[in-house]
């Protein structure tokens, strides 16, 4: 890819018949100046207000960012998601006006944020209804479905969330890696089958990430354009990994030092799965922090089965190469450990925007890995021809089925 690039760069005219640099800059800046002028007219002369008409009530939108329950009562972070300023005049909890303090204040500009502290004696295990009443009498509601104390970031908190991450991320992936000997002894047909299983698994994860990401996108304040954030976050991860992959291959070709083609691919798969698990950890951590989930045995078992298959996906490309244990460990950490980080982040600073972003990165990474794997196994054949061979078709089917069935347990 680089030669053609270089060719164009070298072949370009240099300094002949070009307008002066200053003139070029002026031409580039002119539209920006015009735009600034137009913005000035809009802000000061207010044709938008003229279009809206006289006496229209302001458009008020408030989004609940985070609701924490603690010994001091209920602490709520609110964002103004609308175009006009909003003043929070009163707060109701369970249909009762309640005292509150606001930091930094009760009037929020567009995308302004405030934290309300409401000294309400909330009841463990009960549901509570929050309602903010603005100066114009518009109300914004949030339901705390099951009231439990929000974890504070102490040693116990990190301990619990680390354990969650280890259970659902690290251990399952590590167990999955133990399939390596099986993979390396597989014949051509067996390998095709295993690689197809891997692709099936990843396709399933991709769809899952897309679904979760779009679901989280729907929860984000509309100013943050959740769907666009998700799609372009995913594309960024895809393109970014393509570039990294390209760079790794070039380097390997140059030095021939570090492992083979399979090793690079395994690293890529591990990275993709790691990003996916970061998003998964984030969701789990947030659910616990918000008191919306309890880690029952069934859930742990479900996640373990579900994520063990990810280990298989990582080692599948290593079938033809000798692998040192240290490298295997590195792959395990790359794929599983992000779950722990995700759980911490989710438990501490959960907001749907982070979920969207991490799920998008995970989805993009997985998509890239699927493309990589397919490229490798298809080789010179056509994709359609490859997919329809019996070992591959059955492998794809098996991969998707395994994920579906283990997903049933997670619920």
């Amino acid at each position: 890819m680089t030669p053609s690039h270089d060719h164009r760069r070298d072949g370009g005219p240099s300094g002949v018949d070009r307008p002066g640099a200053a003139k070029l800059w002026a031409l580039a800046v002119l539209p920006l100046l015009l735009l600034a002028g137009l913005l000035g007219v809009l802000v000061w002369a207010g044709p938008a207000d003229a279009m809206r008409g006289e006496g229209y009530p302001p458009i008020e939108t408030l989004a609940f960012q985070r609701v924490a329950l603690g010994p001091d009562g209920i602490v709520v972070t609110v964002l103004n998601d609308g175009p006009d300023p909003v003043t929070i005049a009163q707060v109701q909890v369970d249909e009762a006006y309640w005292s509150f303090t606001a930091e930094p204040g009760t009037t929020l500009a567009h995308l302004g944020r405030t934290t309300l502290t409401i000294p309400y004696p909330w009841v463990q295990g009960d549901a509570h209804a929050l309602r903010l009443v603005t100066s114009t009498g518009v109300t914004f509601d949030h339901e705390v479905a099951v009231a439990v104390e929000t974890p504070t970031p102490d040693a116990k908190f990190f301990g619990i969330f680390t354990l969650i991450g280890i259970y659902v991320g690290v251990i399952p992936v590590a167990i999955g890696l133990l399939w390596l000997p099986l993979v390396s002894r597989a014949g051509r047909t067996g390998l095709d089958f295993l690689m197809a299983v891997t692709i099936g698994l990843l396709l399933f994860l991709l769809i899952e990430a897309g679904h979760d990401g779009l679901e989280a996108a729907a929860l984000t304040p509309s100013s943050f354009q959740g769907v666009a954030l998700f799609v372009f976050g995913g594309l960024t991860a895809f393109v970014g990994l393509e570039m990294v992959g390209g760079w790794l291959r070039t380097r390997r070709r140059d030095t021939e030092a570090s492992g083979g083609r399979g090793w690079v691919l395994a690293q890529m798969v591990a990275t993709g799965i790691g990003l996916h698990n970061l998003g998964e950890g984030l969701a789990i951590g947030a659910a616990f922090a918000l008191g919306e989930a309890t880690l029952g045995t069934v859930l742990i078992v479900g996640f373990m089965l579900h994520n063990t298959t990810e280990g298989l996906a990582i080692v599948a490309p290593l079938a033809k190469e000798p692998v040192r244990v240290s490298r295997l460990l590195r792959l395990g950490v790359l794929g599983g450990a992000p779950t722990i980080v995700g759980a911490w982040v989710g438990g501490l600073i959960y907001s749907p925007i982070w979920s969207v972003l991490f799920l998008a990165l995970g989805a993009g990474a997985i998509a890239q890995v699927v493309v990589q794997l397919t490229r490798q196994v298809v080789g010179e054949e056509s994709v359609a021809g490859y997919m329809t061979t019996p070992p591959v078709a059955s492998g794809l089917f098996a991969g998707v089925t395994v994920m579906y069935v283990t997903g049933l347990i997670v619920g």
Binding site: A89, Q90, V133
Partner: protein, 303 residues
């Protein structure tokens, strides 16, 4: 608990409203613009009122503004008070943005009822309501234009007191007007604010001051929209109930009374002890959404 902050009392002061009728809170010259009384040869009084409907944003809880429809710029509207047999003449001007009118409870001929579509007074127009004040009791007036529910909950209502003839006058007392109301600020058919006299929890911050040992007479009218009933409960006390105020003999003695919309009663009590006595709707939800206040009894027992 309770709302945060204070409302401005510049345009409407719930404390002043308690003891104001026939514009008695205004200086004489200003009062004459809205109320004139002329003694008649037969001993009755001709009472003439100037009422107007006007749209106004009112503060119903600290910092919460409601786009109300008002009589004379206030919710509840001015309290109208006459003695049984008096002639009441109300010149009503509609300065609002919608058709409005006045519908009084009490005896009157049908053309003075202000309820049928042809009775609606269009914006910019006016109408002269005229009738004899009877029977004696505690009544109300409100707008009856359609849609009725909206015209009532937007704030077009007030108390109409008809005193018994002088030969059977009620004993002197500290008299208080309380109109129970609610406001649906987000227009979902459910009130966000409840109050006695419009402002949520106002009398919690500014208790109603009364004297120990003095007879207190409350004129309580329920104009709460959307909810089937409202109620009033007084702490540490009992009161005599004169339902609709049409009898001089109390029908019961209680500390909690229930009203449907439009229902009203005169309540009489005498504070025995100095100190603060809570009063509120005994629907806890209403109480915590603003329909709660305090009486502050001053003086000593047996004075």
């Amino acid at each position: 608990m309770g709302p945060v902050g204070r409302v401005s009392t510049e345009f409407f002061d719930p404390t002043r409203f308690l003891r104001t009728w026939n514009f008695s809170d205004l200086p004489a010259d200003e009062r004459a613009q809205f109320y004139r009384e002329t003694p008649q040869p037969d001993g009755t009084t001709l009472r003439e009122y100037e009422l107007y409907a006007v749209d106004r944003e009112i503060e119903i809880a600290p910092g919460v503004f409601f786009p109300a429809w008002t009589y004379n710029g206030q919710v509840p509207g001015p309290t109208i008070r006459a003695t049984a047999g008096d002639r009441v003449r109300v010149n009503f001007i509609n300065q609002g943005s919608h058709p409005h009118g006045l519908h009084f409870h009490g005896w009157h001929p049908p053309e003075m009822d202000g309820s049928l579509p042809e009775h609606q007074v269009m914006p910019g127009e006016s109408f002269l309501y005229e009738f004899d004040a009877e029977p004696f009791g505690l009544h109300l007036y409100h707008c009856h234009a359609n849609p009725l529910k909206r015209h009532v909950h937007k704030g077009l209502y007030g108390a109409f007191i008809v005193d018994p003839p002088s030969e059977v006058a009620r004993p002197p007392a500290d008299e208080l007007v309380m109109v129970l109301n609610g406001f649906d600020t987000n227009f979902d058919g459910d009130n966000e604010v409840y109050a006695a006299n419009t402002v949520a929890s106002f009398y919690m911050q500014e208790p109603v001051r009364v004297r120990v040992g003095q007879l207190v007479r409350m004129y309580v009218v329920n104009l709460t929209e959307f909810d089937l009933i409202n109620s009033m409960h007084l702490h540490g006390m009992f009161f005599d109930v004169f339902r609709t105020g049409t009898s001089l003999t109390p029908s019961e003695s209680t500390d909690t009374i229930m009203f449907c919309q439009g229902e009203r009663a005169i309540l009489e009590t005498t504070f025995r002890y100095p100190g603060d006595f809570m009063f509120h709707g005994h629907q806890s939800e209403f109480a915590e959404l603003g329909w709660m206040g305090l009486f502050r009894a001053e003086g000593t027992r047996d004075t």
